[in-house]
C-alpha cells in the first residue's frame, strides 16, 4: 500500500471508508437479519475488515471499528437445510475471529465484553466465546491480559471444575493455556534447579494442590486436567508445575496410610506424564529440555510397586505405558527390569489376568519399540512355554483358552522385526508338526483348531505390520509364505491329509496370509508370487491341476465342474488375477474362447442350471480382466439373458460385480490394473440401459431383474457416480425395499446410508422427499420376523437412526410415535448387535423434536 502515491492511497482509503460507513448504516437498519440473509457478503466484509485492521493505521477509528465488528458476536447464523451457497456457521465464526484477533488495539475493548458474554452464554455460544479468547489473547498481549487475568481465570475455572460437557471443558482448558502462554511468554527457562514463579500460575497450582489432597474425588480429575494443560504450555511453566504438582502427588502416594486411594494417585501421576508426552508430540518440548529427569526414579518406583497392589494395578500399568514412551528417560537396563515385573502378570493360565492383560501387553509393546532385547529374552520364552506340543482334547476348553491367550499375547508384542522373526520361526515349526502327514493326532479337530489359532495369530501381526508399513515383510515370502505353501501342498498330495491341513477354515486362513505377504512385495517378486498363488489357490480348494498354464482354456471350463462355492470363487479370483497381469496371453482368450464359452456353457439351455450359474460367475470374473473394448460387448450379452427365469437374477447381480471391478481381489494392492475411469465409463454406458429396464411393467420378471442389477451396481460403485441420478432411481430403490431378496434390500439400504451420511450433500433432499415411505420400509426390514439376516436388520436400524438428523421434524413428526412404538419390537431382537442398533435408533427418535 505504501507503494502507492499519497493521493491514490487517499482515494482507496476513501472508498473503504465510505464502504464501511454504508455498511454500518445497512447494518444498523437490518440488525441480525442482515446476518441471516447475506452470510456470503459478511464473509467478504470480514476479510476486508481484517486487512484494514492489519494494514492500516486505525488507531483513531478503533472504537468505531470495534463496534461494527463486535456487534456480530456471537455468530448465531444457521445455514438452511440444502443451502446452495455452502456458507457454514464455522466459516462466519472463523471470519469474525480473524477480525477480532487482527489487532492488539481491540484488547482493552474486547476483553470486558467477552468476559460478560462468557458468563451469560451456554453451550455453543460459550464455546465460541472461549475459542475467541483463546485466539485473541496472544494477540492482545501480556499487558492487557494481565489486567484481566484474575477475572478470566475465575470464568475459566467454572468451566473447568464444573464442566457442562467435554467440548466446553476442552475449550476452557485451551483458553487457560492461551492465557498462561500470553502471561509468561517472556520468561526464560531457568538455568538453576530452583524454579521461581509468581502470579496466576502460582494461584492455579496452589488451588490444584489443595484439591489433590483428595485424589479420589471428581475435582481431583479436573485439577489434573488443568495442570496437564499447563504442562503443555511453556518450558518454565512446565518445570514449575511438574516440580510442584508431581511432588504433591508423589508425596501423597508415600504418605497415604491406607492404600485405597493409591490407584487414584497413580492415575493422577499418569495424567502428568501423558501431558508431557503430549507436549513432546506437539513439538513444544525442545531437545535440551528433560522435564521429567528429576522425578524419574520416584515415579517409576511408585508405578512398579503399584503393580503389586490389585486395586492400583491398572493405574500403574497405564502409568508405565506412558513413562516408557518419554524420549530418553528410562535407561535400557531399567526397561529390562520392568519387563520382568510385568511378566508376572502375563501368565496365560491365569484367567484373572485377562482384565489387565491388554494393559500389560501395551507396556511390553511400547518397550519393544525402544529395545527388543529384554522382550526377546524375557517375555517370549515365557509365553512360548504355553504353546503345547500335544494338543489338548476338544473338551478341554480351559487348555485351549490358555494357548490362545499365549498366542494372543505373542501376536500383540511380536511386531518389531527381530521379535516377529522369532515368532514366525517358532509358530511355523508348530504348524509343521500339526500338519505333518505322519502325525497321528489324538484329536483331529482339536489339532485343526490349534493350527487355526496359530495362523490367526500370524495373520493378525501381519495385518498390523502392513498397516505400519514395516519393511521386513518381503523376506517372509521365503520365511513364511513358502513354508506355509509347502505345508499345505504336502498335505494336499498325501492320501489322507490331516484335518489340520485340510480343514477349510485353516486352509483359507493360510491362503489369506500368503496373499497378505504377496501384496506387500515389490512388483517383480509379486508376479512370481501371483503365479505361485495361482497354482496354490486351486490346490487349496482341493483340486490339483498338474502342468496348468495361466491362460489355458480348460481351466475356465474346469470351474464349471467345481463342487462348491468356495472352491469356484477361489478359482475365479485366480483367473482374474492372472489374466489381469498377463494381458498378452489373454488376447486369444477374449477374442475366441470367451464367446465360445458363453455359447456352450451359459446360453445353452441343455447345460444344467447349476453349472450355467457357475459358468456365469466365471464369465464375469474373466471379463473383469482389463479395460478392453471387447469387454463391453461381452457385458451387453448379460442383458440378453435378463429374461431368463433361472439365470436372469444371477446375470443382474453380475452387473454389480462388474461395477465393483473385482472387489478386493483385483485391487491395486494385488497389483491388478484397475482404473477408476474404467468403472465410470461402464456406469455411463450401462446405467441408462438399466434405468430404462426398471421402467418396464412391474408385472414382468425382468422388472425385478433390472431392479437387482440397479441396486447391485450402485452399491458397488462410489456414490459420486450415481448421485446426480438419485432423483430418478429413488422410486426404484423404494420398490426394491419390499422384495424378498435380502441381498438386494441390503444393497439399497447401504446406498441410502451412504447418501444420508453425507449431510452436506444436496441429495439428502431426495431422501427427505421420500422420507415417510423409506421409514416405513426400514421398519419392515428391521423386523426379525420378516428379515432373516441380522446384518440387514442392523443396517436398516442404523439408517432409520439417521433420519432425525437429516430430515426436518415437520416432515416426519406424524410418524414419530409410530416409529418409536414399532421399534419396541426390535428391542427384543434375538441378536445382541441388532438390539444395540435398535436402542440407539430409538433414542434418536425420542430426541427428535420440533
Amino acid at each position: 500500500m505504501k507503494a502507492l502515491v499519497q493521493s491514490i492511497r487517499l482515494i482507496v482509503f476513501g472508498i473503504i471508508d465510505s464502504l464501511m460507513l454504508r455498511h454500518r448504516e445497512a447494518l444498523k437498519g437490518l440488525g441480525s437479519q442482515f446476518v441471516s440473509e447475506r452470510p456470503r457478503n459478511l464473509i467478504v466484509s470480514f476479510a476486508i475488515m481484517r486487512v484494514l485492521l492489519i494494514e492500516f493505521n486505525v488507531l483513531s477509528q478503533i472504537d468505531n471499528l470495534f463496534d461494527i465488528t463486535f456487534c456480530y458476536f456471537p455468530i448465531t447464523f444457521k445455514p438452511p437445510p440444502g443451502d446452495v451457497y455452502g456458507v457454514t456457521t464455522d466459516d462466519l465464526r472463523d471470519g469474525l475471529q480473524s477480525c477480532l484477533n487482527a489487532t492488539p488495539l481491540f484488547g482493552p475493548l474486547a476483553l470486558p465484553l467477552l468476559l460478560e458474554k462468557l458468563s451469560a452464554s451456554t453451550g455453543n455460544l460459550k464455546r465460541d466465546t472461549l475459542q475467541t479468547l483463546e485466539s485473541c489473547l496472544p494477540v492482545y498481549g501480556r499487558a492487557v491480559a494481565l489486567n484481566y487475568a484474575p477475572e478470566l481465570w475465575e470464568s475459566f475455572k467454572i468451566e473447568i471444575f464444573q464442566p457442562a460437557d467435554p467440548d466446553t471443558e476442552g475449550s476452557a482448558l485451551r483458553a487457560t493455556q492461551s492465557l498462561i502462554r500470553t502471561l509468561y511468554s517472556l520468561q526464560d527457562i531457568p538455568t538453576s534447579g530452583e524454579i521461581q514463579a509468581d502470579g496466576l500460575i502460582v494461584d492455579i497450582v496452589q488451588e490444584c494442590k489443595k484439591i489433590l489432597r483428595e485424589p479420589e474425588k471428581s475435582q481431583a480429575q479436573h485439577a489434573i486436567k488443568l495442570l496437564s494443560a499447563c504442562i503443555c504450555t511453556t518450558a518454565p511453566i512446565r518445570q514449575y508445575v511438574l516440580s510442584q504438582g508431581a511432588i504433591c502427588v508423589i508425596s501423597g502416594s508415600t504418605h497415604m496410610i491406607g492404600l485405597s486411594y493409591r490407584g487414584h494417585i497413580l492415575a493422577g501421576l499418569t495424567g502428568f506424564i501423558m501431558a508431557v508426552n503430549q507436549a513432546y508430540k506437539s513439538g513444544v518440548v525442545d531437545d535440551v529440555e528433560q522435564p521429567l529427569d528429576t522425578f524419574k526414579d520416584q515415579i517409576i518406583g511408585a508405578f512398579s510397586s503399584g503393580i503389586n497392589v490389585a486395586s492400583c494395578r491398572r493405574a500403574a500399568l497405564e502409568g508405565l505405558h506412558q513413562i516408557v514412551q518419554i524420549r530418553r528417560l528410562v535407561p535400557i537396563a531399567e526397561l529390562g527390569l520392568l519387563v520382568h515385573i510385568i511378566n508376572e502378570h502375563l501368565n496365560p493360565k491365569e484367567e484373572d489376568h485377562d482384565d489387565l492383560r491388554p494393559e500389560a501387553l501395551k507396556v511390553v509393546l511400547a518397550i519393544s519399540q525402544i529395545t527388543t532385547k529384554p522382550v526377546e529374552e524375557i517375555s517370549l520364552p515365557h509365553l512360548f512355554l504355553f504353546l503345547p506340543d500335544i494338543t489338548p482334547s476338544r473338551n478341554a476348553l480351559r487348555e485351549h483358552a490358555t494357548y490362545r491367550r499365549a498366542l494372543d499375547s505373542l501376536a500383540t508384542i511380536c511386531v518389531q522385526p527381530p521379535l516377529f522373526e522369532t515368532f514366525v520361526i517358532r509358530l511355523c515349526s508348530k504348524l509343521d508338526m500339526l500338519c505333518s502327514p505322519m502325525r497321528q493326532p489324538l484329536d483331529d479337530e482339536a489339532d485343526a483348531a490349534y493350527a487355526h489359532a496359530i495362523l490367526l495369530a500370524l495373520k493378525n501381526v501381519l495385518v498390523i505390520k502392513i498397516r505400519d508399513a514395516h519393511t521386513d515383510i518381503p523376506k517372509y515370502l521365503d520365511q513364511l509364505a513358502l513354508p506355509l505353501y509347502w505345508i499345505f501342498i504336502r498335505a494336499a498330495v498325501s492320501s489322507a491329509p490331516p484335518l489340520a491341513s485340510s480343514d477349510i477354515r485353516v486352509v483359507s486362513l493360510a491362503a489369506k496370509i500368503i496373499t497378505l505377504i504377496a501384496r506387500s512385495l515389490p512388483l517383480e517378486r509379486a508376479l512370481f508370487a501371483a503365479y505361485q498363488s495361482g497354482t496354490t489357490t486351486p490346490l487349496l480348494a482341493g483340486r490339483r491341476l498338474p502342468g496348468m498354464q495361466s491362460h489355458s482354456p480348460p481351466f475356465l471350463w474346469s470351474l464349471v465342474e467345481a463342487t462348491n462355492e468356495r472352491q469356484s470363487l477361489a478359482m475365479f479370483h485366480t483367473i482374474s488375477s492372472i489374466f489381469n497381469k498377463r494381458l498378452e496371453d489373454a488376447q486369444p482368450f477374449l477374442q475366441t474362447r470367451l464367446p465360445e464359452f458363453w455359447e456352450e456353457s451359459i446360453a445353452s439351455a441343455t447345460v444344467p442350471i447349476e453349472a450355467r450359474r457357475r459358468a456365469l460367475l466365471g464369465y464375469i470374473w474373466a471379463l473383469l480382466v482389463r479395460n478392453d473394448p471387447r469387454v463391453n460387448v461381452c457385458v451387453n450379452r448379460l442383458f440378453s439373458i435378463f429374461s431368463d427365469p433361472q439365470l436372469g437374477w444371477h446375470a443382474a447381480k453380475a452387473v454389480g460385480e462388474f461395477g465393483r471391478g473385482g472387489g478386493d481381489v483385483l485391487t491395486k494392492r494385488n497389483f491388478s490394473v484397475i482404473r477408476m475411469l474404467h468403472t465410470q465409463r461402464f456406469m455411463t454406458s450401462t446405467l441408462p440401459q438399466i434405468i430404462a429396464g426398471c421402467k418396464i411393467s412391474p408385472d414382468l420378471t425382468e422388472h425385478t431383474t433390472y431392479l437387482i442389477a440397479l441396486t447391485s451396481l450402485i452399491n458397488s460403485v462410489p456414490k459420486a457416480m450415481f448421485l446426480s441420478e438419485l432423483p430418478t432411481i429413488m422410486p426404484f430403490l423404494l420398490r426394491g425395499l419390499d422384495v424378498p431378496d435380502e441381498e438386494m434390500r441390503a444393497n439399497i439400504i447401504n446406498t441410502l446410508n451412504a447418501v444420508a451420511k453425507d449431510e452436506s450433500s444436496s441429495q439428502v433432499n431426495v431422501i427427505s422427499e421420500h422420507a415417510s415411505t423409506i421409514v416405513t420400509a426400514l421398519l419392515r426390514n428391521a423386523d426379525y420376523e420378516i428379515t432373516k439376516s441380522s446384518r440387514l436388520r442392523a443396517t436398516a436400524l442404523q439408517c432409520l437412526g439417521m433420519f432425525p438428523s437429516i430430515v426436518k421434524y415437520s416432515v416426519l413428526h406424524p410418524q414419530r410415535n409410530h416409529v418409536i412404538s414399532r421399534l419396541s419390537k426390535a428391542l427384543d431382537d434375538p441378536k445382541r448387535s441388532v438390539r444395540k442398533e435398535a436402542v440407539d435408533t430409538r433414542s434418536h427418535w425420542f430426541a427428535y423434536q420440533g
Binding site: P358, R394, H400, R791, V839, F846, A847
Partner: protein
C-alpha cells in the same frame, strides 16, 4: 448449565475407574469371532442371544449425573454391573447415590427408569431401588421410583424431562470415551 457449587449436594464425589471390556465365556475350541466366518449362514441363524446383566449395564453406564454433566454414573460408582439382576422377565437395578443426602437421587433413578423404558422390550418389569443404607430417604425414594403413575406424571413435566434427556444424551456411548467414539 453448571449448577452453582453452593447448591450442589456433592460437589466433589469419588471417581471410580470404568469397567473395561466385558468378558464372555469361551464356548468353542474354534476362534469363531474372526471376521472370516461370519457368513450368510451365521448371519441368518438368529439363535437367540438373551438379554443379560452386562447388556443392561451397558445401557446404563454412560448416563451422566445431573449434578456432574461430564461424569458418568459408572465413574461415580452409582451403577455397577454387580447391582443388576435378571431373572426371567424381571430386572432389578440397585444404585448407590454418591452421598446419603443426595437430592439428585430421584433424578438419577428417573433417568435409569426412562433409559430402561426406552431401551428394553415391554415384556420386562423393572424394579429400581437405592442400595440399602445408602440414602437417608431410602424407602420414600424406592416407592416413588417404582410408582408408574408418578413416573408417568413426572415425564409430562417438560423441565424434568429436559433434565432427564440431558442425563441420557451420552447413554449410547456404553462406557466408551466420548473422544474415542467421535
Amino acid at each position: 448449565m453448571p449448577i452453582p457449587t453452593a447448591t450442589m449436594d456433592n460437589p466433589n464425589p469419588v471417581i471410580f475407574s470404568s469397567k473395561k471390556d466385558i468378558r464372555r465365556e469361551v464356548r468353542s475350541i474354534w476362534i469363531d469371532s474372526s471376521e472370516e466366518f461370519i457368513d450368510a449362514a451365521e448371519e441368518g441363524d438368529n439363535l437367540p442371544e438373551v438379554i443379560d446383566e452386562d447388556e443392561i449395564y451397558d445401557l446404563l453406564r454412560s448416563i451422566t449425573d445431573p449434578e456432574h454433566p461430564s461424569t458418568t454414573l459408572e465413574q461415580l460408582g452409582v451403577v455397577t454391573a454387580e447391582q443388576i439382576k435378571i431373572s426371567g422377565n424381571h430386572i432389578s437395578v440397585r444404585f448407590t447415590p454418591t452421598v446419603p443426602h443426595c437430592g439428585m437421587a430421584t433424578l438419577i433413578g428417573l433417568s435409569l427408569r426412562v433409559r430402561l423404558l426406552r431401551s428394553l422390550p415391554a415384556r420386562f418389569r423393572v424394579d429400581i431401588t437405592v442400595k440399602e443404607g445408602s440414602h437417608q430417604s431410602e424407602s420414600a425414594l424406592n416407592k416413588q421410583l417404582n410408582d408408574k403413575e408418578r413416573v408417568a406424571a413426572a415425564l409430562e413435566n417438560t423441565t424434568l424431562l429436559d433434565v432427564v434427556n440431558g442425563c441420557l444424551a451420552t447413554a449410547n456411548l456404553r462406557g466408551r470415551d466420548p473422544i474415542d467414539a467421535a
